[in-house]
Each structure stands twice: as C-alpha cells, then as structure tokens.
C-alpha cells in the first residue's frame, strides 16, 4: 500500500493542529485513500494511475487547509513560550498572566513575603483614604456644595491658628437683608433638647436655626416642611424639625408624627418636618469649641431671637456686642468667593467707621464650608503622607526582593532572549508579574484596611467626626486598585529594566551566577539607602508625636480627674422660668448628692472644663485707668455652686471660695484664678478689690489655681468664678467626687435627680477621666497610628537590609573563603561585611536626617511641648535605626564568618 503521509502532512502544516489530532487525521485520510486506491486497482488501474487518481481526491494543495481553517481544532494555542515575539496585546497579556501565576506558585515564600509587604502598604493607604473620604470628600451631602461658605468675623487680636470668632448679631441681620453676593444667608447656634416622650427622658443635640437654614443648605425634609419666616422670631409658633434617626428611634417612624405636638425642654412643640436620613448638620467636631454643637444634631428649633433689645437681656438681632451665631451663606450663581469677600470687606470697613466701639479692627472672613468641615484634615494629611512613605518603603523592599530574584532568573531571561524575545517584551512580562503580585496584595490589603478601620473606631478620636461613616465604599476600592497599579509600576519597573539588561553571551556562559552583579548591587544599595532615609523621616515624625503625647499626658489640668463623675442637667424654662427657681433645683440636687455616704463633695458648673463650650466676657478692675469701651480685657466666666471647687479638687490659693451664704440678696462676690490675679493685680493683694463683670461690681473673695478649660494644650487665660446663686443658669454640669469607680454612682445619681423632678434627664453621664481622655483622643489617635506606621517601616527596612547583606554574603562566599584561606580572621570578615552593609545605611541616614528636618517643620503645628528639631528625639531615632541596621547586617555577616574556605572554593 502506498504511503500517503508525505502528501497529507504538508497540506495540514498550514493549520495549527495539535500533534495528536494531526496524526489522527492523517490516519483517517490515509485509510480513505487506501480504499480508493484498492478500488481503482480492482477496477484495472495500474499502480501509478491508482495513486494518481487517489491523490486527486485531495484536490489542489491548499484545498484541505482552506476547508479546515474555520474549525476550532485548527487553532490549538501553542505552548506558552514566555517572551516569544508579540502577537495580540490581550493574548500576550493573558499568556503573561498565566506564566506569572506559575512563577509565583513556584516560589511561594517569595510571593508571600512580597504580597504581605505590599498588602500592609496598600491596606494602610486604603484605610487612611477611607477616613479622608468620609471626613473631607463625602462630608458635604448638599447640592452645589462649593457655593456654600461660612461667614466669620476676624480681628488682628486673633492668635494665628485659633478659630475665627462669630460675627455680631446685628451684622448677620444686615447681611441677611442686604447682601448682594449671597442668594441666602442663614444662622444657627447650639442648643440641647430634653425629650420626655417616646421613651426615657433623654438629652439630645439640637440647633437653633433661622428660617432659610435648610434652603441655604439645599435640603428638603423627607416629610413635612421647613421653617416659615414668621416662625423664626421670638414669640412665633413653637415648632421643631427632627432627624430621621430620632424619628425612627423614639417615634417608630410614625408618619403621622408631623403635625403632632411633642414636649421639648418642657415646651410643647409641633413637629413640622422630618429630615432625610443622610442629613447630619451641624456636627460638633466640625465647629470651634465656641459653638458647642453636640456630636450629632437631631432637633432643629427656631432661633427665636427678639427683633430688638426688650430689656430682658435675651439675644436680639440688633446687638452689636453679642457674637454667638454660626453663619452660612449660599453664593449666588456665578458669584465667586473672592467677590463676596470684597463685598464683606467693604461692609467691615463701613462698620468700623460707623461703630468703632464694637467694630474697630474687625473684619469679615469667608471660609468655604468644605474647608470649615475639613478643618482637621491637616493631621489627616500627615497620616496620609505617613502611609504613603510606608507604601514606598514596602515597594522598595519588594523591588529589592525582585532584584535578588532577577539574578537567579538571569539565565531564563537569556534563554528567552536567545529564542527571539525582544527586550520590551521581557520587561512587559516582568511587569505583568508585578501587576499580578500587587493585585493579590491589594486583595489582602483590603482585609488589612478593614482591620485598620476597626482599630480606628476603637481609638475613636473626637475630631475625626465622620469616622463611623468611613467604609470601604467603591471610591475606596477604586483608590486601592489605583494604588495597586501604581505600586506595581513603582516596584516592578527598576527590577524589570535591570533584569532585561544583560550580556546574552556572558549570561548563558556564566550559568546561574548572574552577569553584571556589580551594577545590580549598586541599584540594591541605592534602594536600601532610600529605604533607610524614608524610614528615618517616618520614625522622627512619629518620635516627635510620641514625645508630644507624653508631654501632654504629663500636663496637670489643674483639677482632679480620677474618681469624679459628671453629668448634665438642663432645666426646661417652661417649668423653671425664674433664676431663683433654677438656683433652688441645683442647690437641692447638690445637697441630696452630697448627703450620699460615698460622695466626698458635690457641685455644679455652667461649662465643664474640657467639656466643650464656655463663656467669655469683658471686665474692668476698679481703680484701673479707664479704657475705650470695647477694648476691656476678657476673662472666661464660670458660674459654679459652692461645692464645685472641693469636688474638682481645685486648690484655693488665697481667701475663700463661695458658701451657701453668697445668695442673690448678698453682696456680689467673685473668685479669680491665679493668671487673672497675676496679670491684673501683679503685686497687689486682690482680696477685697472689686471688678466689674456682667454688669455689676463684684468683690474678690478668693484666688484659686488655674484649671485648663478649652483644651489641654492651650495655656488657660484669666478666669472669673461667679456663684450660681448670683448668676442663675438653667443648664449645669453636676460634678461628684466619690470613692472608687465613679460610674458605679451613676444610677444612684439618676434616682436622686428623678426624686427631685421625674421629667429631668441626667444627660452625658461620664467620668472626668473620660472627659480628659477625650480631649487628648485625636492626638492619641495620630500618635498611635504614626508610631505603628513607623515601627512597621523600621521592620520593613531591617528586612530590606538583611536581604541585601545576605545576598551579598552569598555572592561573595568564594571571595570570603579565599580571604580566610589566606589568613583573614573572623573579625576581619565581619568588619568587611558590616562595612559593605552599613554603607548604604549611613548614606541613607544622612539623607533621611535632611528629610526629617523638612518633615518635622510640616508637623510643627501638631507638636506640643517639643521643638520640631528636638535633638533628643533625633538622636534616639538615629541610634535606634543604626542599632536595627547593625542587627540586620550582623545576622548574615556572622554566617559569612562560618564559611569554610575549602567548601567555598569547592562550591563553584
């Protein structure tokens, strides 16, 4: 039988058949041709004729291939030959990815180390980004938020960095009526709302707002309506709007609530609207302490200012003295902030001219609402920079790992290049491996990010108000993907370029030992130097933050914080309209609490130190030369019950504190703090002297030591203490000094209050330690995070140094062996390796030191009690880094000394 294979194979060669399939087809067609041949022979054809006719069945040479080309079996993909000449981009990418996956599978140790390192970097970045996203990017859920601005006052007396003061009421009234730049202007202030219906009595955050407040923000209620203009003034109908959360929580989402009356602060108010679920404005943490909004506002009441002064002392719209409103405005379309600022500047100049007593040197400052609400973003940016540095270090480390691996893969690269792979193609293949690595890392990184966010919530700093809203939303996921892409380029590119640059002939000739090792080593040294420099910057910054925090922890607030329980009581004016009635309730309450055996002392104060809020007023000292009205000194005014000083442990320096006899009918008295005594009485004895404050002359009866009030960091200013009986106030914070755990007293304190007035809630039950801790929480949070990032950076850097030195030792083991054979001692070898290993560390340290100086300047405003170039911090950080680097070098160096000369020589 003739052999047909030689005729068939060339005809199939044009197709991409798999080897097995081709053999099958040849077998099948040969049988057909055999049968045809036999048939022809039987029919009398000669051998030659029969062969010829049978082959004619195959028609022209291309016919078979033409008919088979559209079949799937004709397109079997060839085995992967990485780096083979490019075909289609996507097909190549797929091939590269499959190959990369196989490479990573083969080296699970390398893959795990690299992926975990990167995951740490990507995760930390994603977590901080989520925070940033929640606090800054998502914080303004209002239409056209960039048209919203906050209108503050300003004066040259304001210390740089301190918040802007609010404008005077009369100015706000004028702007609302006459501003040309703003489409709407609204004002609001902080309130509290005690609810009695729908559950236990509860104190919730509230705001007093003008009509147009919701329209200015661009918010429409979910149900009901907003305030009508006639409802904003004093004496208008008693109405309120409530948040979606409160509506759900206390009223079960009852849609018929709108139009019903509920009791707020003892007043019956009609609910006119329910706000949408995402509306959460204002939030305490986003505003200066002078506007003490609750962390969450859930009730909005009419501002209810009087149109003019009616002699009652209540706030009115014509006051040029009173400054307590937060003002927001929505710019007219097409009006820029600068134009609006110009209008306000002109206004301020006019006011200063017309009313120098109240407005001399006063100016107006417009702040975009976005900026206002992200006021704390500076420390976030520092954290962002820190995680960025951490990610860079992670990248450098992985790049180092890749470089080391690149040496081992040199031969593979050489073979591929010999098979015709272009250099660009090789780089692409290596970059694909990096991409896959960072994709895996970003998957792990999301887990890290989620863990980080959980830890953030536990640390719960007050100023990152929207922390609870931080989540891995699509924006954050997108960010993580972007970071992953970026990292793969950063850590992958240098090794890829390095790996593809080689002398083909030399590489193959040298086998696995690698070609130009010196160049590669240089790159790796550079990378280690960079890593050391970056780590040093991060460590110094963290060191400064830790020192600041320790300093802050050592700050004496001037009062007792342990074993003190505090809670707020707000008397409803409807039931306690007069001063004496308000004084009486607190007197009785304090007396009941003081009578408890576990209570050492009890008292109450208007604004609790470090509790947010406060009251400042002007005063004059009798006998001092008169000053221009409006430029008298100011002091913080605290109205307290007699037991307050004992309960808070504020030491009395001279004279006495208040007693039960300092009533409204008795001569007015005042207690001052040491700062006021020092500043205004210097050498004189202040006792018996008189000051004018709050419209009356008061005799100084005592001097107490200073107590921190606004923040732990700031030095307190002059303070005036007034007896509550002579300065009645409806909202007080009760302070109890007790034995042991103060919170154990909470339920007893509640029941005592209930016995006095069943409808009064004891709000914000907390310990003084918690109050102080909250005041330091942001700093603690920043410090803890920075310290964690810095330690991670140090560990990564140590890993990096270790890797480089270990590699160096491995590569030079032969040389070391020869040296030892020639008489070098272990100490010499150790010195040689350490010298080599520490060189990049030394260079990196110098660069890092320069970087630290720059970086610490940036964080200077975040430091407390420590200079940004604090030599102790710098020195200890450098010592720490050098010690860590030495350890990282020493481990592989010691191994080098164990090299046996003979083994090293034989190893080749």
């Amino acid at each position: 039988m003739p052999e047909w294979t030689e005729h068939l194979r060339p005809r199939l060669a044009l197709l991409q058949l798999s080897g097995g399939r081709e053999a099958e087809i040849i077998e099948e067609l040969s049988q057909h041709l055999d049968q045809r041949y036999e048939e022809l022979r039987t029919g009398g054809a000669t051998d030659l004729e029969a062969r010829h006719l049978a082959i004619e069945e195959l028609l022209e040479p291309e016919a078979l291939a033409r008919h088979m080309r559209q079949l799937r079996q004709a397109h079997v993909s060839p085995p992967i030959t990485p780096g083979a000449p490019a075909g289609f981009l996507l097909a190549d990418l797929y091939k590269d990815l499959r190959y990369a996956a196989r490479m990573l599978q083969k080296q699970p140790g390398f893959a795990a180390a690299a992926a975990l390192t990167l995951a740490l970097g990507i995760g930390a970045n994603t977590a901080i980004f989520s925070l940033f996203n929640a606090a800054v990017l998502r914080a303004l859920p209002f239409p056209e938020p960039d048209r919203l601005a906050v209108i503050w006052a300003d004066s040259p007396a304001r210390k740089p960095g301190s918040p802007f003061p609010p404008p005077a009421n009369a100015d706000v009234a004028e702007w609302r009526d006459h501003s040309a730049s703003f489409a709407r202007i609204a004002a609001f202030n902080a309130r509290a709302a005690d609810l009695a219906e729908g559950g236990d009595p509860e104190r919730i955050g509230a705001a007093g707002v003008t009509a147009g407040f919701f329209e200015t923000l661009g918010v429409t209620p979910l149900l009901g309506r907003t305030l009508a203009p006639d409802e904003e003034m004093h004496g208008g109908p008693p109405v309120a709007l409530i948040s979606h959360g409160l509506w759900q929580r206390r009223f079960g989402g009852d849609p018929a609530l709108v139009g019903k009356g509920i009791s707020i602060n003892g007043d019956k108010r009609t609910i006119i609207g329910i706000l949408p679920p995402d509306f959460d404005f204002p939030r305490g943490a986003e505003w200066p302490a002078s506007s003490p909004f609750a962390s969450r506002t859930e009730v909005w009441l009419p501002l209810a200012f009087r149109p003019q002064d009616d002699g009652t002392g209540w706030s009115h719209w014509q006051s040029r003295h009173e400054r307590g409103l937060v003002v927001i405005g929505r710019l007219k379309p097409g009006t820029s902030l600068r134009q609006a600022q110009a209008e306000m500047d002109a206004f301020a100049a006019r006011r200063a001219h017309d009313h120098p007593d109240t407005h001399k040197d006063s100016s107006v400052k417009l702040v975009p609402l976005r900026e206002q609400m992200a006021g704390h973003s500076k420390s976030l940016l520092i954290l962002f920079a820190a995680v960025g540095v951490l990610l860079l270090i992670a990248c450098v480390n992985v790049a180092n790992l890749l470089l080391a691996r690149g040496v081992a893969r040199q031969q593979e690269m050489a073979v591929r290049a010999a098979l015709g792979a272009a250099r660009g193609r090789l780089i692409r293949q290596l970059l694909t491996e990096s991409l896959l690595l960072s994709a895996i890392a970003s998957g792990l990184g999301l887990l890290v990010a989620e863990g980080c966010l959980k830890v953030f919530l536990i640390l719960n700093p007050v100023t990152y108000s929207r922390l609870d809203e931080a989540s891995l939303d699509p924006t954050a996921l997108g960010f993580a993907a972007f970071i992953a892409l970026l990292t793969s380029a950063v850590f992958g590119l240098v090794p890829a370029i390095q790996a593809s640059r080689f002398d083909l002939r030399k590489s193959i000739h040298e086998g696995g030992r690698g070609g130009d090792g010196a160049g590669r080593e240089r790159v790796r040294n550079w990378l280690v130097g960079t890593e050391v420099a970056l780590a040093l910057v991060l460590l110094t910054t963290a060191g400064l933050m830790v020192r600041s925090f320790l300093r802050l922890q050592a700050v004496q607030p001037g009062f007792r914080s342990d074993s003190v329980l505090v809670f707020d009581v707000q008397l409803p004016l409807a039931r306690y309209p007069s001063g004496p009635s308000q004084v009486m309730v607190f007197q009785q309450l304090v007396a009941r609490l003081e009578a408890l055996p576990v209570v050492h002392a009890a008292g109450a104060i208007g604004y609790l130190p470090l509790g947010g809020g406060g009251n400042w007023g002007r005063f004059t000292v009798e006998g001092e030369p008169p000053v221009r009205p409006g430029s008298e000194p100011t002091a913080e005014r605290c109205w307290v019950t007699p037991g307050y000083f004992a309960a808070m442990g504020i030491p009395i320096r001279r004279g006495r504190v208040f007693t039960e006899r300092d009533t409204a009918e008795q001569p007015r008295v005042v207690v001052i703090n040491e700062t006021l005594a020092r500043q205004f009485f210097s050498s004189r004895d202040p006792l018996g002297k008189r000051l004018r404050a709050g419209g009356a002359w008061r005799t100084v009866v005592g001097v107490v030591s200073d107590a921190k009030s606004g923040s732990l960091e700031r030095e307190g200013g002059p303070q005036l203490y007034l007896p509550h009986a002579q300065w009645p106030w409806a909202g007080m914070t009760v302070v109890l000094h007790t034995d042991g755990n103060p919170l154990a007293l909470a339920s007893i304190a509640r029941s005592e209050l209930k016995a006095l007035d069943a409808l009064l809630p004891a709000a914000n039950m907390r310990t003084m330690e918690q109050v102080v801790s909250k005041a330091a929480s942001t700093r603690r949070f920043n410090m803890a995070l920075l310290a964690f990032f810095a330690v991670t950076a140090l560990l990564l850097t140590m890993m990096g140094i270790y890797g480089v030195v270990a590699f160096l030792v491995g590569r030079r083991s032969r040389e070391i062996g020869i040296r030892m054979a020639l008489g070098a001692r272990q100490g010499d070898v150790l010195r040689l390796v350490l010298q080599q290993g520490m060189k990049p560390v030394a260079i990196g340290s110098v660069a890092g030191l320069l970087g630290s100086v720059g970086a610490s300047r940036l964080v200077a405003s975040q430091l407390y009690g420590v200079s940004s170039s604090d030599p102790l911090t710098l020195m200890s950080i450098i010592a720490l880094l050098v010690a860590s680097a030495l350890l990282a070098c020493w481990l592989p160096a010691r191994r080098a000394t164990k090299v046996h000369p003979l083994e090293a020589l034989r190893g080749d």
């Binding site: 099948e28 057909h32 195959l58 028609l59 078979l64």
Partner: protein, 117 residues
C-alpha cells in the same frame, strides 16, 4: 405549509445541501468516511461526488457543532476506523433541515413550474 424565516433560508442555501446529505446518510446508522462518500455517489447515481478535501472538513465541522459524533472502532484483525453517527442534536437539526428543504423545493416548483414529484 411551514413558513420559513428568510434569514434561515438564505443561510441554508448558501451552505448548500451538503450538510443535509451527510446527516441523511448517517441517519440509519454510524458510517465511516469512505462509506459515506460511496453512498453519496451511488445514491445520486454518480451525479454527486464529495472529494476527500471537502468531505472530511465537513465531517469535522459537523462533529464540532455536536451534530455528529465520531468514534474510533477497532475490530479484530482490522485497522481501527472512525465512524460518524448522529447525535440527538443532529437528529433534531436533520428533521428541521428536511422541512426547510421540502418547503424550498415546493416553493421553487410553484415559481418555476418545474414538476419535481
């Protein structure tokens, strides 16, 4: 009368009747390639003839589509041979193609006046 989707008709005509022929030939039982080509030749009284270069690619195509199933069958003392049989899907396709074909020929008869019966 079956109403034909014009797109189907067009496609069927383009492909010609080759598929219908093959499917009909292997309908009663599985056959090997040479047998198929012989049967086409004899049943058409020598008027139709499929060459190797077109018959086998067609068989492979029908196999890839899942209409035919090819199986190597070994018999004692003989070389193994590849037999092609109809799959369930192939049977459905065949019946559909037959209908289409009948309708088409019918229509052609009506239009051209050529009596095909």
């Amino acid at each position: 009368m079956t109403v034909i989707d014009t797109r189907i008709l067009d496609r069927e005509l383009k492909k010609g009747s080759a598929e219908l022929i093959i499917l009909s030939i292997v309908e009663p039982r599985a056959r090997h390639g040479y047998e198929i080509s012989k049967l086409i030749e004899t049943r058409s009284a020598g008027q139709l003839k499929f060459h190797v270069a077109s018959l086998y690619p067609l068989l492979y195509r029908l196999e890839e589509r899942g209409w035919l199933q090819g199986r190597w069958v070994e018999k004692a003392g003989q070389r193994r041979r590849r037999f092609y049989g109809l799959t369930a899907e192939g049977r459905r396709v065949l019946s559909r193609q037959r209908d289409t074909w009948k309708t088409f020929v019918n229509a052609m008869g009506l239009i051209t006046g050529v009596d095909h019966a």
